[in-house]
């Protein structure tokens, strides 16, 4: 319980819930069950895109190719079903394998060249997008299989089935990082590359695993997106970059590697989707959403930074007062993100 109280995303979540309740009372449309469904559907998709970035951040790297892989997988599935009449399941599996392979290619290049993931994935991401555009000549496949659509659009009252996919992916990533040897290797290499290498862990393997699973998750996100949009367009993924970073960062995953908070990512996705929807319900221009995302990233990272500083100071004052140190950390974090400190 105390762990939950100290989580970096808690103040944001509380603020969002409060704002959501206020909006629900003030406006009729916001609280409608269909609107909640739309919010959660967007959140589910955002969460998976965020996971695709989170696994790479965990190894201390970053991927600008999440969107590019998403676009390529979308086109591959669309092409297999539309042109070659593959069974849907086979096409989806092939698409996910392709996504994983793209990620593995990134991982191998980064490990081999010792270059930063930033520049390598900037290049490969553009190449993947280029292939998607080249294959389709920028014309989308409009006949998305009905099974994918019914999964993506399906709901029980306000609960979209896609949220189950997001829950599943979040749980799997969290569990893999915690318990699987490869997951622990990823975190170890991300935490301290030299120490991990000296203890016999393979940085190459960690990079390939992280980027490979990132590609797989980008593929899953692509399938979700395709169903929501009911169209397999090569433009898929061009606007995923900010979301992919916003979700893990707001969720409390450090950019420096070595840690990942998959649950935090899920909650950040809900927060982002709610803000997005609230701005639309309040008739604010959709471009404000983009702006808000940028400022939110900054606020979240700042809050994390301030929180870490405060907790370091708290630790410095001696073990006996560490609890107070922790509390002041989350208080400062709350203030840093522009929110009132939450009663604990």
């Amino acid at each position: 319980m105390s762990q939950v109280l100290r989580a970096k995303w808690l103040p944001l979540l509380v603020a969002t819930v409060v704002a959501g309740i206020v909006l629900g009372i003030e406006t009729k449309s916001f609280g409608a069950s269909f609107n909640v469904y739309v919010i959660l559907q967007t959140a589910a998709f955002d969460a998976v895109v965020g996971l695709a970035q989170m696994v790479v951040l965990a190894v201390g790297d970053m991927s600008l190719a999440v969107g590019g892989i998403g676009g390529l997988v979308t086109i591959a599935i669309g092409n297999a079903v539309d042109v070659h009449h593959w069974p849907v399941a086979a096409a989806v599996v092939a698409g996910l394998v392709l996504g994983t392979l793209c990620g593995v290619v990134n991982g191998v290049i980064i490990a081999r060249t010792q270059l930063s993931g930033f520049i390598v994935t900037l290049a490969t991401g553009s190449a993947f997008t280029g292939i998607a555009y080249g294959v389709t000549s920028a014309i989308p496949y409009s006949s998305v299989p009905s099974s994918i659509v019914s999964l993506s659009q399906g709901r029980a009252s306000f609960f979209p089935y896609l949220l189950l996919v997001a829950f599943g992916a979040t749980a799997l990533v969290g569990a893999a990082l915690r318990w699987l040897p490869d997951g622990r290797t990823v975190l170890a290499v991300g935490g301290n590359r030299d120490a991990a290498t000296l203890s016999g862990l393979s940085r190459t393997r960690a990079l390939v695993v992280a980027h490979g699973s990132s590609g797989l998750l980008a593929g899953v996100a692509a399938v979700m997106y395709m169903g929501v949009l009911q169209s397999a367009t090569p433009a898929t993924g061009t606007d995923w970059l900010i979301i992919s970073f916003a979700v893990p960062i707001i969720g409390g995953t450090a950019l420096t590697g070595g840690e990942a908070s998959s649950v935090g990512g899920l909650i950040a996705a809900v927060v982002l989707a709610t803000i997005n929807d609230a701005l639309i319900v309040l008739n604010v221009n959709t471009n404000a959403v983009e702006m808000a995302e940028g400022l939110l990233i900054l606020a979240a990272v700042l809050a994390g930074q301030v929180g870490r500083l405060a907790s370091l100071q708290g630790r410095g004052r001696g073990a006996g007062r560490s609890r107070q140190g922790r509390r002041s950390a989350s208080d400062t974090a709350a203030r840093g993100s522009g929110l009132e400190p939450v009663a604990q």
Binding site: T113, S126, A127, G134, E293, G294, I297
Partner: protein, 369 residues
């Protein structure tokens, strides 16, 4: 030809070579053909060769590549890409990066459109305002980086969406039809011959200014020092915050110039300009031979890289490669450039290492005798 490479000894040698301790870096390696090939000069010579080869191939295979019309449009695009590359390089030199080049450009072009079309402000004043706006927008990112201690990646990522969204929001996605004839002549007139766009001169002037900053001014040398080893620079009395802010300001200024250049030949602009600036800006930097780890710059390399890159794009278009495949070409060029650059740097540090070892051995055997 501005082909001087300035490089400070950096402790972050890619490829695991020992940290350079021998003063002016590669100068000592520049003897002998191997030393010359692996030095910074080779990126310039290599780019000249690459461009000549590209022109020869496309000139013989594709029809119309070497016409003055086509060379004109290559120059037009390459000029903007070169300025973008320099805007990026200035932060890369300080071991930072600027993801928001396009969004700063979007702010500048929105302001330009608003002032010229809606507010009927005179062109010189409008240009002055957008240059100031570009500098201020970029400075703000520098201030945030300094005040928060966050990495430039995350700060400029946040401002990428904040500025981009803000520009679209404030202009309400408006399209501005710029009618200024002066601007039109800058972007679509001719200079000296029918094959040269006046924008090429703008890019060359920017290049000369940037070259002067790094080669003739103290602040430029300090930027290189901060990029090579920030802690060492601070320890030797460099006012790092001021140097960083100067770099951000210069980068913003060049973003404003690039926005002005694109507006001058597009003439119909809106706030979504700049959304695809990121990749060309890094291609010019990496292909031009600027180390991503910071600490060195090759202005001539950036200019030539932009020329080569846009020649390649134009050549592919002339060979009737559908424009949809050009993204792939862009990605592959960048990938090839980073990998080749990495290999070159590794070989460079190996040569330097071997040379030093040879010197040590020679010195060691000489002293007992």
């Amino acid at each position: 030809m501005k082909s001087t490479t300035r490089e400070l000894p950096t402790t972050r040698e890619p490829g695991g070579g020992p940290p350079g301790r021998d003063g002016p870096g590669v100068a000592s390696v520049r003897r002998g053909i191997v030393g010359w090939l692996v030095s910074g000069q080779s990126s310039v010579v290599g780019l000249v060769l690459l461009t000549v080869v590209t022109w020869t191939i496309f000139g013989t295979v594709g029809s119309g590549f070497l016409t003055s019309f086509n060379l004109y449009s290559i120059g037009q695009l390459a000029a903007r890409d070169a300025v973008l590359g320099m805007a990026q390089a200035i932060l890369v030199v300080m071991a930072r990066m600027n993801l928001a080049v396009g969004s700063v450009g979007a702010i500048c072009v929105s302001l330009l459109g608003y002032m010229l079309v809606d507010a009927h402000i005179a062109l010189p004043l409008a240009i002055l305002v957008i240059v100031v706006a570009g500098v201020l927008a970029s400075l703000l990112m520098g201030v945030v980086e300094l005040k928060t201690g966050l990495s430039s990646f995350i700060v400029t990522l946040a401002f990428l969406s904040a500025y981009g969204g803000g520009a679209l929001l404030l202009t309400r996605n408006a399209n501005y039809e710029i009618t200024s004839s002066v601007l039109g002549r800058l972007g679509s007139g001719t200079l000296v011959s029918a094959a040269v766009c006046p924008l090429v001169a703008v890019a060359v002037v920017c290049g000369v200014v940037v070259w002067l900053v790094y080669n003739k001014t103290a602040i430029g040398w300090k930027m290189l020092a901060v990029g090579a080893n920030e802690r060492a620079a601070r320890a030797s009395g460099v006012n790092t915050p001021r140097v960083l802010l100067a770099g951000y300001a210069l980068s913003g200024l060049l973003c404003a110039v690039a926005a002005l250049m694109e507006a001058s030949y597009e003439l119909n602009v809106n706030a979504s300009l700049g959304t695809n600036w990121l990749l060309p800006s890094f291609i010019a930097v990496v292909l031009g031979g600027v180390a991503l780890a910071g600490g060195d710059i090759t202005v001539a390399g950036i200019l030539l890289a932009a020329l080569f890159y846009d020649s390649l794009q134009s050549g592919l278009t002339i060979l009737n490669v559908p424009s949809y495949w050009l993204d792939l070409a862009e990605g592959l060029v960048l990938l090839a450039a980073v990998v080749a650059d990495q290999m070159r740097r590794r070989r460079q540090s190996r040569v330097r290492h071997e040379r030093r070892q040879r010197l040590t051995v020679a010195g060691g055997s000489a002293s007992p005798a």
